[in-house]
């Protein structure tokens, strides 16, 4: 009988080494920040239209936040496997797509020009040091660049001055960027107590502890 009880105990106890998928959604409380129109210079309106919607505040009607960067704050081994496909940053209709992209350190990002006119791509690190500045005059032109160090980088077009994107080079594999529904998923998170952080360029930062919870986690920004 004691042996049976011991067996049942071990069968029901959680495996301390079991990894799990950490999923959730990022949202912001109402009143929701409104999308911001950006007036285009008259001499560029023929290429780009007269108004662009600013990409920094892509929030659904329910308050779910796109383009938030979710990650574990603790140190983990750096990602060791190259991505199956390179990250892509496209210049199309005078905006960068996606607005926020994850690029593994040491791997290439393909910067594309899907527009039929000149763009100019400049990248800056978080200390405003310019890393490169290249013209992309042709449609379907591809520029491959490698970001070697972890960090957040701003990529801008020097000609269409409202155009920008954020490149996030993660320190480890537990990073994600939320989709249009505010969803994120960190796969194979080891069991243990960690700090889950979220960063959004306009809404700021949040943190909360995680401890192998099942079910979805909500990260909620207060209203601005």
């Amino acid at each position: 009988m004691p042996f049976l009880l011991l067996l049942i105990f071990f069968l029901l106890s959680p495996d301390p080494a079991a990894a799990y998928n950490l999923k959730g959604r990022v949202r912001v409380l109402p009143p929701l920040p409104a999308p911001e129109p950006v007036a285009v210079n008259a001499d560029q309106a023929g290429e780009c239209g007269s108004v662009i919607t600013a990409p920094a505040l892509r929030i659904s009607a329910e308050g779910f936040v796109q383009d938030a960067v979710v990650y574990l704050e603790e140190d983990f081994p750096p990602p060791s496997e190259p991505p199956a496909v390179p990250a892509v940053l496209d210049q199309k209709n005078c905006v960068f797509s996606p607005h926020v992209v994850l690029v593994l350190p040491g791997s290439a990002v393909e910067i594309r020009n899907s527009d039929g006119f000149l763009h100019n791509v400049r990248a800056f690190d978080s200390k405003a040091v310019m890393l490169f500045n290249e013209a992309m005059p042709r449609q379907n032109q591809i520029l491959k660049k490698i970001f070697s160090e972890p960090g957040r980088f701003t990529v801008r077009c020097g000609i269409h001055r409202w155009m920008y994107a954020i490149v996030v080079v993660p320190k480890h594999r537990y990073y994600a960027v939320t989709d249009g529904g505010g969803r994120f998923a960190l796969k194979d998170v080891p069991a243990g107590n960690f700090t889950l952080a979220v960063w959004h360029e306009r809404l700021g930062e949040l943190r909360r502890p995680v401890d192998g919870q099942t079910g979805e986690i909500d990260l909620i920004f207060p209203s601005k």
């Binding site: 800056f124 405003a128 500045n133 801008r156 409202w162 920008y164």
Partner: protein, 131 residues
């Protein structure tokens, strides 16, 4: 003849010395330039002063470096551009930059190439563009 020799003996050294009593010599001419810095979205008070620059070094970049601590670095096209003034740096994420005008004109003004004249007014403005 003696009068000419005396005149040369008195005036000669002053013609070749580093600084004459008037502050300008043929060898090294110093010009006054007004520098004004407006910090815009950085929410700092505007700053204005008059600097005195050797004519040969009188550029908008050099003028502001005489007025306030200023950081050089490539923002677009050249490592001699100005990327920070008075501790306020360009902010590529928020689309904030420094712009320079000389005597109210900003087109074709280069921080490191435009040559200033005595009495010029150099305005550096921190500004934010929509995005």
């Amino acid at each position: 003849m003696e009068a000419l020799l005396v005149a040369l003996l008195v005036a000669g050294p002053q013609m070749t010395a580093g600084n004459s009593a008037a502050g300008m010599t043929v060898a090294r001419q110093i010009i006054p330039v007004t520098v004004r810095v407006e910090f815009g979205p950085a929410n700092l008070p505007a700053f204005e002063t008059v600097v005195r620059l050797p004519r040969k070094d009188a550029t908008p970049g050099e003028a502001v470096r005489q007025a306030l601590p200023a950081e050089k670095g490539a923002v677009c096209c050249h490592p001699e551009e100005i990327k920070g003034i008075g501790g306020v740096s360009v902010d590529p994420l928020n689309n904030r930059w420094w712009r320079v005008a000389v005597n109210g004109e900003s087109k074709r003004v280069s921080p490191h190439k435009t040559r200033l004249k005595a009495g010029d007014v150099v305005l550096w403005t921190y500004f934010q563009e929509a995005q």
